[in-house]
């Protein structure tokens, strides 16, 4: 995906204003718990990384044990990405790293140095929902909604790779995203509706 030119501005202003802080970015307020954590001596080694999230570059000093999802949720306040299992089973934490869907719970933040991350917060542009988000609404693809962000990001990666997937391709590429509401029928319908695939009869899975 091409860089959004509007983001260059925020990068420059970011570089101009950020000093050496534990966590900081022009667009992110300093979080209260950062101060609380700093009151106690750090108990883990830290590493400085540069992470681009939804087009905004962040210079962060992260504990080596922090996962990507911890950094996104706890330190950048991007709580749209959920933690369902924290052990690579459910896919609720799926984000795009350099356009590929990954489980953010299973990536250490230090491995993300120099990488480009997209989260659910970056799907809508200037208040305009992505067609996938529109389709998720129209097809009731979110029941409890806790797996939804991960489902959206997996579907986004699929549709960027394949504009006209079959229902079987949707199922196969999203199999790493569980939905305990078992809303799979509606999820497949929503992804197909957002794709440019011709409307056709869908075929079920159903193996046990």
């Amino acid at each position: 995906m091409a860089e959004d030119p509007t983001l260059q501005v925020s990068r420059r202003s970011f570089l101009g204003t950020t000093g050496a802080v534990v966590v900081g970015a022009a667009t992110v307020p300093t979080l209260p718990d950062t101060a609380a954590a700093a009151a106690d001596p750090p108990t883990a080694p830290r590493t400085r990384i540069v992470l681009t999230v939804n087009g905004t570059e962040h210079r962060l000093e992260v504990e080596d044990r922090w996962t990507l999802v911890e950094v996104l949720r706890d330190h950048l306040d991007l709580t749209g990405t959920k933690v369902g299992c924290d052990r690579g089973e459910c896919g609720a934490c799926t984000v795009l790293v350099d356009d590929a869907p990954v489980y953010a719970c299973s990536q250490l933040a230090v491995w993300m140095d120099g990488r480009r991350v997209r989260t659910v917060e970056g799907l809508a542009r200037n208040g305009v929902l992505d067609p996938l988000q529109e389709a998720f609404i129209a097809h009731n693809a979110a029941q409890c909604g806790f797996c939804t962000s991960g489902q959206l990001m997996s579907a986004k990666a699929l549709l960027e790779r394949t504009a006209t997937p079959t229902t079987d391709e949707v199922r196969r590429s999203m199999v790493g995203n569980l939905c305990r509401c078992a809303n799979y029928n509606a999820l497949v319908e929503a992804v197909m509706a957002a794709s440019r695939a011709p409307r056709a009869a869908t075929s079920g899975g159903g193996a046990a």
Binding site: L31, P32, D33, A36, A37, A39, D40, P41, T43, E63, R73, D77, T79, G80, T81, K82, V83, G84, C85, D86, R87, E89, A92, T119, V120, E121, L123, A124, L129, Q133, F136, I137, A138, N140, A142, Q143, C144, G145, F146, T148, R171, R172, M174, V175, N177, L178, C179, R180, C181, A182, N183, Y184, N185, A186, L187, G204, G205, G206, A207, A208
Partner: protein, 725 residues
């Protein structure tokens, strides 16, 4: 409206209700803005972790927390020695949840920390620290000296005299009067029914523990401001949760505020407080800081609850014409070591029979605690009794669909009329739509070759009674309505449904109605999202509030300036001398590869009569998702224990083998819509009804395909292959 012979009325079309409507909060849901309890973060918040028992049954000789307490960042450590807080909802006489009187007399009580510990995963200590890693490290430094005790995992074994006693009173869980006796219910005489039978049949069925496994793991943020406690927690019932917290902590109800705006799945038994809420509140009090307790996924599996496993023995007597003369069940439900819920097993009420007897033993075991999971008593019992009846039909040479229609209940307990009756419509219309005649094999297992298909059916009657709930509606001078309801929206779409009911009853567009929900400080009593009651009960209160507001509007005129009109209602509607229920039938075609043991669902039709459907968009997906959960129960889910160590070995999503995209067939849903004159615009219950029918219909389809009666859920590949060994 005119009522037909079955008590149903032709539906009069409405303006808002009945139209497929996207959720009013859908933008928040798809942009990541919806704030779940797991997302709550307060200034100065500490993180808490729980240490859990590695033993299925052990006495704690001592706990040394001194090293943990002195670690960097650790602010508090609590154990059974310094935090003895009763968890009233964690163990109740007879499993009578939502009953304060029972919680007072309960003998077999649960505390947030207990000694002895009675299952692997029972909380032993909790730590609050400045970050979650510090809390996790501190857990490793707590030294517990355990004296391991004998343990028992199987409910039938637990009742043997030589079994380890989990409670001094024995392993049969005490009833609502603290008596160690089974629950018995009787109608007519089984002896007379068996004597009158031309043939009798006996068999045994069993079902497994299925974890609720909602996607949002258990968590809680507790925050004290002076003597006032605010709790952010995933609960289906903010009011019941508040009342439980106040009772357990010994503070007035108005000193507790419970907030739950979005909830990552429910599926049962979350209409109260949890031990996580009490542990977080205790730590927050001790540290004078907000505390967030998070469970890992594995902790959620061992520390929360799931559907009770059962063993069911049936005796069925049939006369020469194929009508039931006797129906008897003796059954055992494994409750874990505490009594959270009833342990009930439903199903006998589905049949017309003069002689019925049910004996139920809710039994303590050293497993993870059992609790309500979507249709708490239903799918396991419906699987047992409808497999049994299916088998009887084949043995009598009768089409199981015709046998069901011949013997199904026409009146509740053969005497109380239903408010309307559409069960036969569900079965006959469903059979036609599904193609029962073409898909059902007269000779089970008769397909040539190793890949065999067959069809199965099950049917349902499930309560849709009415009850108390509250609603408040404001109208301001700008003509905007605000509806206040104490729902949390666990996934079913309750706040959209409530908004639609209000709009319909007020005669205004949905866009003119704002809905305020999920906060005990702002919302009145709601029954809580359990028992599939919100649409009927809270929806009924919304209709009453709208009616009251319209009356005020007629009398006083529209408000001006800063004035608002306010209508507040708490109706307790009843149904005189009748029984109100939903009806349904599921038809399943299964394909079994008898060489590989692989089972595929090749067609699935869910026929439901749930009264009037308020929002077809969300109702359809409630049924589709629930039906898929039912398939998971039939084919996949179990919490398997290592008999030597008493450890569960299938915790987590991989272990539980929940259905994925690749396992989920398309579910066809058909609603027969009626208005029986009760409930908001004739709406009944939806949420639970879809899960109830799957296991029986799937198992019956497998029998039709293979000729093998699968008597133990889940029907895994190894069991399927074993049936052919």
């Amino acid at each position: 409206m005119s009522q037909d012979a079955n008590g149903s009325s032709t539906l009069s079309p409405l303006t808002t209700a009945g139209k497929s409507t996207p959720r009013i909060d859908s933008v928040e849901r798809v942009t990541g803005k919806a704030r779940y309890s797991w997302d709550v973060k307060l200034p100065g918040m500490l993180y808490a972790r729980v240490l859990r028992s590695p033993h299925p049954h052990a006495r704690i000789r001592s706990i040394d927390v001194s090293k943990a307490a002195s670690m960097p960042g650790v602010k508090a450590v609590i154990t059974h020695e310094n935090a003895r807080v009763v968890w009233g909802a964690g163990s109740i006489a007879g499993g009578g949840q939502y009953n304060d009187e029972l919680k007072k007399i309960t003998k077999q009580r649960r505390y947030i920390f207990n000694n002895p510990v009675k299952f692997v995963g029972e909380p032993v200590a909790a730590v609050a620290a400045t970050d979650r890693h510090a809390a996790e490290q501190a857990l490793l430094a707590i030294v517990v000296d355990y004296e391991p005790l004998a343990f028992v995992l199987d409910p039938e074994e637990a009742l043997k005299p030589e079994a380890e006693k989990i409670w001094p009173e024995g392993n049969l869980s005490l009833n609502v009067r603290n008596e160690a006796v089974p629950n018995v219910s009787r109608r007519g005489s089984i002896e007379a029914g068996v004597a009158a039978a031309a043939k009798t049949f006996e068999d045994r069925y069993s079902t497994a523990f299925n974890h609720n496994a909602q996607m949002e793991p258990r968590c809680c943020v507790a925050h004290w401001e002076g003597d006032k406690l605010t709790v952010y927690t995933p609960t289906g019932g903010i009011v019941n949760c508040r009342d439980d917290m106040a009772r357990d902590l010994g503070i007035p109800r108005d000193r507790v505020r419970v907030i739950c705006q979005y909830m990552g799945g429910n599926f049962g038994n979350k209409n109260q407080n949890q031990d996580a809420d009490l542990i977080a509140a205790t730590l927050a009090k001790m540290t004078s800081a907000p505390v967030k307790l998070e469970f890992s996924r594995k902790e959620d599996f061992v520390g929360m609850h799931g559907r009770w496993p059962t063993v069911q023995y049936y005796t069925v007597g049939v006369d020469a014409r194929g009508s039931l003369t006797a129906l008897k069940m003796r059954a055992y439900s494994g409750m874990g070591p505490y009594r959270k819920n009833s342990g009930g097993i439903a199903g006998l009420e589905l049949y017309a029979c003069p002689n019925v007897e049910s004996t139920l033993y809710p039994v303590y075991t050293n497993r993870t605690v059992s609790g309500n999971y979507r249709g708490p008593s239903d799918p396991q019992g419906f699987y047992g009794v409808q497999s049994m009846m299916d088998d009887v039909a084949y043995k009598l040479g009768i089409d199981p669909l015709e046998f069901a229609i011949q013997n199904m209940s026409r009146k509740f307990r053969d005497e109380v009329p239903y408010t309307n009756y559409s069960l036969e419509d569900c079965l006959r219309q469903g059979a036609a739509r599904f193609g029962w005649r073409e898909r059902w094999r007269r000779e089970p297992g008769s397909d040539a070759g190793p890949i065999k298909r067959g069809a199965g059916v099950s049917f349902m009657i499930f309560r849709a009674s009415l009850g108390r709930s509250s609603a408040i509606i404001h109208l301001n001078a700008q003509g905007r309505y605000t509806l206040f309801v104490g729902v949390t929206d666990v996934g079913g779409g309750a706040k959209t449904t409530m908004g639609m009911i209000a709009a319909e009853a007020l005669g205004v567009p949905l866009s003119q109605v704002d809905v305020v929900w999920g906060d005990t400080e702002r919302c009145p009593y709601s029954v809580g999202e359990s028992g599939s009651r919100t649409t009927m009960m809270t929806g009924g209160a919304v209709v009453e509030a709208a009616r009251a507001l319209k009356q005020q509007l007629a009398e006083k005129g529209a408000p001006t300036g800063d004035n608002v009109l306010i209508a507040s209602t708490s109706p307790s509607p009843t149904i005189d001398g009748k029984s109100r229920n939903v009806f349904g039938a599921h038809f399943v075609e299964a394909e079994v590869d008898v060489e590989m043991g692989r089972i595929r669902i090749t067609k699935y039709l869910a026929m439901h009569e749930c009264g009037r459907i308020i929002n077809p968009l969300t109702a359809k997906d409630q049924i589709r998702g629930a039906a898929l959960q039912g398939i998971g129960m039939a084919l996949r889910e179990d919490m398997i224990y290592d008999r030597r160590t008493g450890h569960p070995v299938t915790t987590g999503y991989y272990g539980a083998r929940h259905l994925t995209y690749l396992d989920a067939p398309e579910i066809d849903v058909e609603f027969i819509e009626v208005d029986d004159g009760y409930g908001p615009f004739g709406a009944k219950t939806v949420g639970e009804s879809g899960i109830i029918l799957g296991p029986a219909a799937v198992a019956n389809a497998i029998f039709n395909a293979t000729g093998k009666r699968m008597r133990d859920l889940p029907i895994t590949r190894d069991k399927m292959l074993g049936a052919f060994a």
